[in-house]
């Protein structure tokens, strides 16, 4: 057997034992194997060394072809794997891009939601402020109206505002001389007072009887008390709660004019009705029986 064929046989056998070649270039390997078989057979039949050398060349070329085909097929397999990998990377990138886009969109949506909420809040605040302003205006108007009304009513009562409160004075002429009985003129004034007290239930009154300096202390205190009592009795009889009106006789202790003249004495004989401010209690606001 010429060395060329021996070498060629070895080269073929190496390829036959190469799993990659077996798997990826089976046809080319088969052709190489057949070629070496035929070359060996030919050698046994003809013993032609030149032909054997030629056949060995062909066999080796076939093995080379099988190996190159194997290399190409491996490249194809690798390319397929890499293509899958590329798809995975692309998917990864698109997913990441989508995630970024999504989170950016969510951020914008969240901002928009916040803006809308802020706008809505601002609108509600504005509405609220408007309503409050309207209410305040209405309240102010109502207050002004009620104050105006109160003033009118107080004017009706011919009351005076003093530092003690609103004072309604029933003069001496409205009582019988030395008597506590109310004359018709007094009941007219007191009827208006009753209406006023019914309209303003948070107001209480002090009813103070006063006299001039003539007569005994005993007599003056008694008369002034009786006259004050008469007024309170009128109020309670006409539906004013008893605790809202306290009667006190002060006698000559609190003159409003000189007792030297008849006219002064006339003015000192009187019943003063002090209309207390809302919330003030009559029981707490009485003045002492003698000036301090």
């Amino acid at each position: 057997m010429p060395q060329a064929l021996v070498d060629a046989r070895a080269i073929v056998d190496a390829a036959s034992n190469d799993a990659d070649v077996v798997r990826l270039a089976p046809m080319e390997l088969d052709e190489a194997e057949q070629a070496i078989e035929q070359a060996e057979t030919l050698w046994y039949e003809e013993k032609d060394a030149d032909e054997a050398g030629h056949q060995a060349y062909l066999v080796i070329r076939r093995v080379e072809i099988a190996r190159v085909v194997t290399t190409g097929a491996m490249a194809v397999e690798e390319a397929k794997a890499l293509a899958r990998q590329r798809e995975a990377v692309l998917l990864e990138i698109r997913t990441a891009e989508a995630d970024r886009a999504l989170s950016a969109a969510e951020k914008r949506a969240e901002e928009a939601r916040r803006d809308r909420a802020a706008a809505e809040q601002a609108r509600m605040d504005a509405d609220q402020a408007r309503m409050e302003a309207q209410q305040a205006r209405a309240e102010a108007a109502a207050l002004a109206e009620s104050e105006r009304k109160l003033r009118e009513e107080l004017a009706d009562l011919q009351a005076q505002e003093t530092e003690r409160g609103i004072v309604l004075t029933l003069g001496d002429v409205l009582f019988d001389v030395d008597e506590a009985t109310l004359k018709a003129g007094a009941t007219q004034s007191l009827a208006r007072l009753v209406r006023f007290l019914k309209e303003y239930p948070d107001r209480q009154v002090l009813v103070e009887g006063h006299t001039d300096s003539t007569g005994t202390e005993q007599y003056n205190l008694g008369l002034s008390q009786r006259r004050a009592d008469s007024v309170v009795q009128f109020l309670t009889l006409n539906g004013v709660a008893p605790e809202r009106a306290i009667a006190t006789g002060y006698g000559k202790a609190y003159p409003v004019a000189s007792n030297e003249t008849a006219e002064g004495r006339q003015r000192n004989r009187r019943v003063e009705i002090v209309i207390l401010d809302p919330g003030e209690k009559a029981a707490e606001e009485q003045r002492p029986l003698l000036p301090e």
Partner: protein
């Protein structure tokens, strides 16, 4: 002597010519196969990827044609057979090289994509501002 010598030479030439003609016919089939293999290899751009094998195949086919012209049919057959496998190897080499190039292109694609993805993910803080 002169005549017999001439006869001897004639017989010899005739025998050689007949022998050549009778033992080895012209390798038409092998020549055609080699030519076809070379054309296929050329179409596969083997001149670029396997220039050595292509040169070898071409020169062997030329040599086979020359041998055929000189009626050396045996040499022509061998040269044609070798030229055919040289061309086939050149074609397979070109094909394998192109497949490797295709694979390397995909590999480069992946690298480029990864680099782009890297830049994109690094860009996030900038984008959100």
């Amino acid at each position: 002597m002169d005549c017999s010598m001439t006869r001897f030479v004639l017989v010899l030439l005739l025998a050689a010519g007949l022998g050549a003609c009778a033992s080895v016919p012209p390798p038409k089939l092998e020549m055609g196969k080699a030519d076809l293999a070379l054309r296929k290899a050329e179409q596969a751009d083997a001149a670029h990827f396997a220039p050595l094998e292509m040169r070898t195949a071409r020169s062997k086919l030329e040599a086979a044609r020359a041998a055929l012209r000189e009626e050396d049919n045996l040499e022509a057959r061998r040269l044609a057979e070798q030229a055919k496998l040289d061309a086939t190897l050149a074609e397979a080499t070109a094909q394998a090289a192109q497949r490797q190039e295709a694979r390397d292109t995909i590999r480069a694609d992946i690298e480029a994509l990864r680099a782009e993805a890297e830049r994109a993910s690094n860009r996030i803080p900038g984008e959100t501002q």
